[in-house]
Amino acid sequence: MGKIAGIRDRSFETYGEKSGQPTISTQSVVRAGPFTNVVTPFSLLPSGPIEAGGSGGRIIVMVSGQLQWPNTMETPAPSTCTVGIYLDGTLNYSIQAFVPIGGIPNVDLPQPVSFSLYWETATAGAHEVDVKVTPGVSTDIYAANVSVVLITTPV
């Protein structure tokens, strides 16, 4: 049987298979923390931006983590933080999270606020992906247990 145009990767008999090659690639990091003295904007990744994607792939970015005041903070104040996904240094998608006052230091619970973001790049291409938090009223918010998963999918 001859080869037929347009059926590449569709006929094992004619073209074989791409054995052992996953159809997606993934990258991930975890930063347990807590990391304090969060300045504006503060990267939540352990080693800075992650290079991901490529000419044939879009990037799905998934993030989970928590924000809170340190339990030893003497005078915390409510803060509306912005957590955003940055591509090549530019903010592309963000959410806001309200971090309440932590109560009496070393007595009350620290009131962690969990957050999650799920976002995909609009077009195929390689990018440096970063996740940053911007506190609203102070640089003393802390973040913890940040997990970032990147899935590069072929377009």
């Binding site: 037929i4 094992f12 998934m62 969990s114 799920y118 997990s147 998963v149």
Partner: protein, 146 residues
């Protein structure tokens, strides 16, 4: 005769998807409440999700936690082989009858060959003894062979 365009659609000609090299998914929903104490409780009953050495696994979970009374801290974790806590997210349930929705995502490193298969579970426990309840858990498992 094999016909172009029917790959993966004709069981007679192409009996099954090939596991090697293909991403697979698994999922589970548990609408039943799970009582939480200071001992880790599996949010999906006795069940676990399997993966073999060489796989990486992405776990995406969403659910709700509420407290029977008072304010309480809850740790939700991804656990490997019922022994190794890979990732933990800490939540605070503010008060009784105030449900707290949350979600988490985590990717395991490439699983080694110390066990075959490995078991992955999502568990939760409280930081104090106050009874708390988790419910409406939904988990998606994406298994990526390396």
């Amino acid at each position: 005769m094999k016909i172009a365009g029917l790959k993966g659609r004709s069981p007679e000609t192409y009996p099954s998807p090939r596991a090697n090299g293909l991403v697979t998914t698994n999922s589970e929903v548990n609408t039943n409440p799970v009582a939480l104490t200071m001992t880790q409780a599996n949010l999906f009953g006795a069940g676990s999700f399997g993966a073999v050495p060489g796989d990486k696994v992405i776990i995406a979970y969403s659910g709700v936690i509420s407290a029977v009374s008072g304010s309480i801290l809850v740790d939700v974790s991804v656990v490997l082989d019922n022994a190794v806590t890979l990732y933990t997210l800490q939540l605070e349930v503010k008060a009784a009858t105030v449900p707290l929705p949350f979600s988490l995502v985590f990717e395991t490193p490439v699983l080694d060959d110390t066990l075959d298969p490995h078991a992955i579970t999502v568990v939760a426990s409280t930081e104090s003894g106050t009874a708390t309840v988790a419910a409406n858990g939904s988990v998606i498992i994406i298994i990526i062979p390396s």
